[in-house]
């Protein structure tokens, strides 16, 4: 009658460990499907919005930064879409995932499961949308920009893994903080807006003055965006220090974020 193999549970000070999460993949997937369903149901264009929205933004940015501000980058559209969807994934994950614990309060108070599942499901939902956008961008870049597929594209899965680890690492402390502090809803939008300007989203990192370049790359998102620009737009293999440095920063963010999250997650059920 019982299908979930291990149902013996001892609850004390110790909580769930990272490997335990694998048992909750069914739940995670269910949450993802539900999230996408709720987001797009009863809207006229449905899932089309996931493409329409960023495409309209990209169009707007191309008009402004190619024709008005005139950023000196050939094939500006190709440059922009090689990184913009990564940026979009990051902001969407952070802003929609920040309140994921509170918005699942009833579930959190009724059933025992690791809270990480909620955070990861929020990111995976955005990943589904990102994959869709990215495949279109990839198609456009290979056909109209490179007229072929450069070998550097093989690195793309590695970059996506770095992007995922970094996003989950950033989201965990934000999601935990939003349970305790209402500041998050005021601070997050301005933080994301600042990040948009201090990261190479609509301009290449090479435009940043040499003198402050090193300081500029302290921001791990700058490294991530530059990786995508190099691999997708330039079609080159990125330098090892950049790749390894960004991967290390992503891992560090994940570890710190995870420790903070684990420190506070046992009390979520009492507070939401």
């Amino acid at each position: 009658m019982s299908s979930a193999g291990a149902t013996v549970r001892a609850s004390s000070a110790r909580g769930y460990r990272l490997p335990d999460l694998w048992r909750y993949r069914g739940m995670m997937w269910s949450l993802v499907v539900r999230d996408l369903k709720v987001k797009y149901q009863r809207s006229l264009f449905g899932f089309l919005w996931t493409l329409l929205n960023p495409l309209l933004t990209v169009g707007l940015l191309v008009v402004v930064f190619q024709h008005i501000v005139r950023i000196p980058v050939p094939d500006y559209w190709a440059f922009l879409i090689s990184g913009y969807f990564v940026w979009n994934f990051l902001t969407q994950s952070l802003s929609s995932g920040a309140y994921i614990i509170a918005s699942h309060g009833a579930l959190r108070r009724s059933v025992a499961f690791p809270s990480e599942v909620l955070v990861i499901s929020a990111v995976v939902s955005r990943l589904v949308e990102f994959m869709l956008e990215m495949s279109l961008a990839l198609l456009a870049i290979t056909v109209f920009h490179h007229h072929g597929a450069p070998a550097s594209l093989l690195l793309l899965p590695v970059l996506v893994v770095i992007q995922l680890v970094m996003t989950v690492g950033l989201l965990m402390p934000i999601a935990a903080a939003s349970v305790f502090y209402t500041d998050v809803q005021h601070a997050l939008p301005i933080a994301l807006l600042s990040l948009f300007y201090i990261s190479p989203v609509f301009y290449p990192a090479t435009m940043v003055p040499e003198a402050v370049r090193q300081l500029y790359f302290v921001n791990p998102v700058a490294g991530l965006m530059t990786l995508f620009h190099t691999v997708l737009y330039e079609g080159r293999v990125p330098s090892f220090p950049l790749l390894a440095g960004t991967a290390a920063a992503a891992c560090a963010l994940f570890v710190v974020g995870y420790v903070i999250f684990k420190r506070y997650s046992p009390t979520f059920a009492e507070l939401v």
Binding site: M1, S2, S3, A4, T7, V8, R9, A10, S11, S12, A13, G15, R23, Y24, G26, M27, W29, S30, L31, R34, K37, V38, Q41, H104, A106, L107, R108, R109, S110, V111, A112, F113, F180, Y181, T182, D183, A187, P266, A269, E270
Partner: protein, 243 residues
């Protein structure tokens, strides 16, 4: 199911810093960030329930019954002590079992099944039985936000009892909102589960309806166990004390 020396401490916050601005001011002035005083909700809670046993938790409002259930369900982590459960556990602690208001009844059944660790095929196989039991008809295809509380209780019970097919069932006064017909049906179902050897732990103020399922009762008072024993004896003592 075993609870050994379980203690759950909640804090009453006389002052709690909930904004960063205040945090900075308080740190700068070297004032404590939070001023709290422990309120003991549950202490020295020892309870051993054997497989197939039916136990009723009784006591006044705020005595710690629901806290005890949430600790057993694993939703709350004990401040001290140990809670052990052996078997698939389902709990109906508040109205609904964590339903998502925007999803339909059917979709919520699927989500809950996934949360309980059932495969999609297992959920599909039990869906019809859940729908039959809940008797919600076409409302199963409506978002749960349009449900009345009685309808939510129906779906919650159906989902927890039929879909999850638990070996340990925790119920917190869920039957109170259902109509008489449904209450009767649930009681029949609980009796059947009891015969099949499902462990049932319930919180109820409806003392007369507990008889066929629970032989044993635990009386909680101000977070401490006041009495543990035969249902009739404990209920009589509780009534005598309340009168």
């Amino acid at each position: 199911m075993l609870c050994r020396g379980v203690e759950k401490r909640f804090h009453h916050y006389e002052h709690r810093t909930t904004s960063l601005r205040e945090l900075f001011i308080r740190v700068a002035r070297r004032r404590p960030i939070t001023v709290r005083r422990a309120v003991f909700t549950l202490r020295d809670f020892d309870l051993r329930v054997e497989r197939g046993e039916g136990v009723a938790l009784i006591g006044d409002n705020g005595c710690g019954k629901s806290t005890a259930l949430r600790l057993i369900a694993g939703v709350y982590r004990p401040t001290a002590g140990l809670v052990e459960t052996n078997g698939r556990l389902a709990a109906v602690i508040e109205l609904g079992v964590g339903f998502h208001p925007e999803l339909t009844g059917v979709e919520n059944v699927g989500l809950y099944g996934a949360v309980m660790g059932l495969s999609r095929r297992e959920v599909a196989a039990r869906r019809e039985e859940v729908e039959d039991f809940a008797e919600l008809g076409d409302f199963m295809r409506e978002p749960v936000k349009f449900y009345s509380s009685g309808m939510q209780a129906r779906l919650a019970f159906a989902v927890a009892v039929v879909c999850a097919s638990p070996e340990i069932l925790l119920l917190d006064e869920v039957l109170a909102v259902g109509d008489a017909g449904f209450q009767h049906k649930c009681r029949e179902r609980l009796r059947l589960l009891h015969e099949q050897g499902v462990t049932i732990i319930t919180v109820s103020h409806d003392l007369d309806s507990l008889g066929d399922i629970c032989r044993r009762a635990v009386w909680l008072e101000h977070g401490a166990m006041r009495m543990d024993g035969d249902l009739a004896t404990v209920v009589d003592a509780y009534r005598a004390a309340s009168a």
